[in-house]
């Protein structure tokens, strides 16, 4: 690979590994031609992504993992070592060591949102290609910093918005953007309802395998109460709840069909329903409207409030098109779904495998199905909706300048102060 100068000269520089499979076994490419990968964050999502890349044995060589929970990293190492039938996979507890010591071509990262700003930019600044989980960031300022770092370092970026590599979503968006239901007037996006809280668990001892201080990182320091893996998404210090968790899916698809995925709406207003009590404070219901400069409305709400429930529905002059997971593609007029998109019409990015798409782009340096700029525009909608709900105000947004107009108070919510010593330099 282009970065492994060691291989080009044949010299062996520690700690770069030369796995036994380098002896050209079984049709696999020697590691010099494989993409050298690592992973940061090996929880449920992270292990899934890592395993996906690991199985791409012809193209990937997984060499190291990093997690603040040693149970996670040890488990990941076990999976990787078993796959390669060796014990070469390296483990790190601190992403700074990991990025400093490893010579990677690419990294897959799956972390709570509050860490995205620091770690995505750090990896980008090391000129490592990134497969990063959505949402792009917890705040708009962090998100802008990530886009900027990706651009500046000229790396390949794929967001974990895998619906962009699924046929029914692409087809639905393509029919919409090519006017098959006429001029669009509005869009409805249904994201999941929130659920029952867990009350207020007592402060408890930090488990031996967890570095709680590093898990928190730039987020406010709080005592450990057993709420971390899998459940951090209900706490606003780390995530915006279901809203921001799913923005990168169905709102992302909405923008794809509208052809607005490098811009965004200009006004936002709405309401959230917040837990009254307990440690979880992310809204369990939410309902906001936003409007684009050309007059198109988008309503984002928890699925229970919407006619079609989960998914994206575009409404045009000639009818509607609805898409959702499970290959759902419906229209008010079934004939619309049979339409052929002509050669000279708009053809949306075609990818059939989100992980493979990333690897192919790492090799070709082409833009992926879900690049950083698009991920940024998607999450901006969720985050601006969140700001409208938090303040109870109408938010006016300039998508070109990326500023909230005329509301310095609401503008404070575009970022979250980092707990010292953590710091993300502004772009």
């Amino acid at each position: 690979m282009r970065r492994t100068a060691t291989v080009a000269t044949g010299a062996m520089i520690l700690p770069q590994i030369i796995p036994s499979t380098a002896m050209g076994m079984g049709g696999k490419l020697p590691p010099s031609d494989r993409i050298v990968m690592g992973a940061i964050g090996l929880g449920g999502m992270g292990t899934g992504n890592m395993s996906n890349f690991l199985r791409q044995a012809k193209d990937v060589q997984f060499v190291a993992v990093c997690d603040v929970d040693t149970k996670h990293s040890v488990n990941a190492k076990r999976i990787i070592d078993e796959f390669y039938k060796n014990s070469d996979c390296r483990i790190y507890g601190d992403y700074r060591d990991f990025l400093e010591k490893e010579k990677l071509d690419a990294v897959t990262i799956a972390l709570p949102d509050h860490w995205h700003g620091l770690i995505y930019t750090a990896a980008a600044n090391k000129k490592i290609d990134i497969y990063g989980e959505k949402p792009l960031a917890r705040t708009i300022h962090d998100s802008q910093a990530i886009v900027s770092a990706v651009k500046k370092n000229n790396i390949v970026w794929q967001t974990g918005s895998w619906q962009r590599s699924v046929e029914n979503f692409r087809r639905g968006a393509e029919l919409v953007i090519n006017g098959r239901i006429g001029k669009i007037s509005r869009v409805e996006v249904g994201l999941p309802d929130g659920g029952k809280g867990i009350g207020t668990p007592p402060v408890t001892e930090v488990p031996a395998e967890l570095n709680w201080e590093m898990w928190l990182g730039p987020a406010p320091k709080v005592p450990f109460r057993g709420v971390y893996h899998g459940n951090w998404c209900w706490i606003l210090d780390y995530s915006g709840g279901q809203l921001t968790d799913w923005t990168g899916h169905h709102i992302d698809i909405a923008q794809w069909g509208l052809g607005t995925d490098r811009t965004g709406p200009v006004v936002f207003a709405g309401e959230g329903v917040y837990p009254r009590d307990g440690i979880y404070n992310a809204p369990v219901e939410y309902d906001f409207l936003c409007r684009y400069a050309d007059g198109i409305w988008m309503r984002v709400a928890n699925a229970s409030r919407l006619r079609f429930g989960m998914g994206t529905t575009w409404y045009g002059e000639k009818g509607w098109i609805h898409v959702d997971r499970g290959d759902v593609l419906r229209s008010s007029d079934p004939n619309v779904l049979k339409e052929v998109i002509g050669e000279n019409e708009i053809h949306l990015y075609k990818s059939n495998d989100h992980h493979r798409n990333f690897l192919e782009c790492v090799k070709s340096r082409a833009e992926t199905a879900a690049p950083a700029e698009i991920a940024h525009r998607s999450i901006s909608i969720g985050l601006l909706g969140e700001i409208a709900m938090t303040t109870g105000q109408k938010i006016f947004w300039n998508p070109e300048k990326q500023e909230i107009i005329g509301d310095p108070v609401a503008s404070r919510l575009l970022s979250r102060p980092y707990r010292l010593p953590w710091n993300l330099p502004t772009i």
């Binding site: 309802d193 659920g195 029952k196 207020t200 009254r276 219901e285 102060p417």
Partner: protein, 403 residues
């Protein structure tokens, strides 16, 4: 002579002003009670309180004679009222009273059927038409079909079987089925109701009836596996009827009646039954899917409550006073001046040496976005305190960003 007339003129004027200043409530309500298989002595005064808290109702309680007593003396003049609430389940009323009640509803009188009121009078046809659905009292398929939801569909089920049952009391989630009706518009679609009897297998004529909300009776808890009707509206003649299956009373109230969801839907249903519209705002403490919301003394929290309790907050206590404050800020502070009003009250708590650190941290978090230069000196001082340093610096970073 002229002075006398002048005095009289002034006095009349004053009286006229006095009368117009006295704001009378909009509606008169009668709560009918006196017999019940439930604790009516506990529930009826609570229903009176709940109605009067809206500021819309003047409520009176009319008690029938006790069981076996002479029902001929129970003869309320229903026509004097805009709303009749039935908290009764027992001996039949007299034919005269029954006829008067039917007339009242036919002529546009509003009714609220409360909980076990739907157990009453299995043989009185008109009553059951008004209630829509009922249970117990040997009700069966002869009284009408079961009605419940399966997924999103209303099932009308004529199968034979008993009318009315409930599994062991528990907290359960209510799901709004009609999000457009004035009673339920704007409420969270899913909300946790306080520990109550989940009335199931209700059956009846169900005519001109709409099911506004249901609750799933989980088979795991011995329930039917159906989404059972909880809140209904029925039209009868010119009358509007609101029927709530919720609200089982314990002595002193209990969680079902203290539930802000029960109270608010009762109040909204009552206003709708009396007037055809709902003008009440949705209270900040209306429950949602996250958990149950119970009121003390059936009252909403006040801003004063919020601030006092925030000053006493410790990490294991309820955050509801803080989230209540957040709701107020979000909904009431339309202008900078209004935000400053809140800010000043929050600063007072920050300056209170008796207020807890954890309480101050909550306020610092909130002030970080809605505060102003006013807060900065106080926050700077708190930043000198090791325990509050992080939270104070978070707020200062937002209020005074270094460009």
């Amino acid at each position: 002579m002229k002075t006398k007339y002048l005095l009289l003129f002034v006095l009349t004027g004053l009286l006229a002003i006095l009368y117009s200043c006295h704001k009378s409530t909009d509606y008169k309500a009668l709560i009918v009670t006196g017999q019940n298989n439930h604790n009516w002595q506990a529930s009826s005064p609570i229903l009176k309180t709940i109605l009067e808290q809206t500021g819309l109702f003047d409520a009176e309680i009319a008690k029938t004679p006790e069981k076996g007593g002479d029902m001929n003396i129970f003869n309320p003049d229903f026509s004097k009222y805009n709303l009749v609430v039935i908290d009764y389940n027992g001996d039949s009323w007299s034919d005269k009273t029954n006829a008067a009640f039917v007339d009242y509803v036919n002529n546009g009188g509003g009714v609220v059927f409360y909980h076990a009121a739907n157990n009453s009078f299995p043989k009185w046809k008109e009553y059951n038409l008004m209630a829509g659905l009922g249970g117990w009292g040997n009700r069966s398929e002869k009284d009408g079909p079961y009605m419940y939801f399966r997924n999103d569909s209303l099932i009308v089920d004529p199968s034979a079987g008993r009318g009315g049952s409930h599994a062991k009391r528990h907290e359960f989630e209510v799901k709004i089925r009609n999000t457009e009706h004035p009673i339920t518009k704007g409420l969270p679609v899913h909300w946790m109701h306080g520990n109550d009897e989940l009335y199931s297998q209700l059956r009846g004529p169900g005519k001109y009836m709409e099911i506004l909300a249901t609750a799933y009776a989980d088979t795991a808890g011995g329930g039917t596996g159906h989404h059972e009707p909880m809140l209904m509206t029925i039209n009868y003649g010119k009358g509007r009827i609101f029927h709530t299956a919720l609200g089982h009373a314990d002595t002193g109230g209990g969680p079902a009646m203290e539930c802000a969801g029960f109270i608010s839907t009762f109040q909204r249903g009552a206003e709708w039954a009396a007037s055809g519209k709902v003008t009440q705002k949705i209270p900040y403490d209306f429950p949602n899917a996250a958990g149950v919301s119970l009121r003390t003394d059936f009252k909403e929290l006040t801003l004063e409550d919020d601030l006092t309790k925030i000053g006493q907050y410790e990490i294991t206590k309820s955050t509801k006073y803080f989230t209540d404050l957040q709701s107020r800020i979000r909904n009431e502070a339309r202008t900078t001046e209004e935000l400053i009003k809140f800010e000043k009250l929050m600063i007072k708590v920050l300056q209170d040496n008796n207020a807890t650190d954890e309480g101050k941290k909550l306020l610092l978090g909130e002030l970080s976005w809605m505060g102003s230069d006013l807060s900065v000196p106080v926050i700077r001082e708190l930043a000198l305190n090791d325990r509050l340093k992080d939270a104070a610096e978070f707020a200062l970073a937002r209020l005074q960003p270094t460009k």
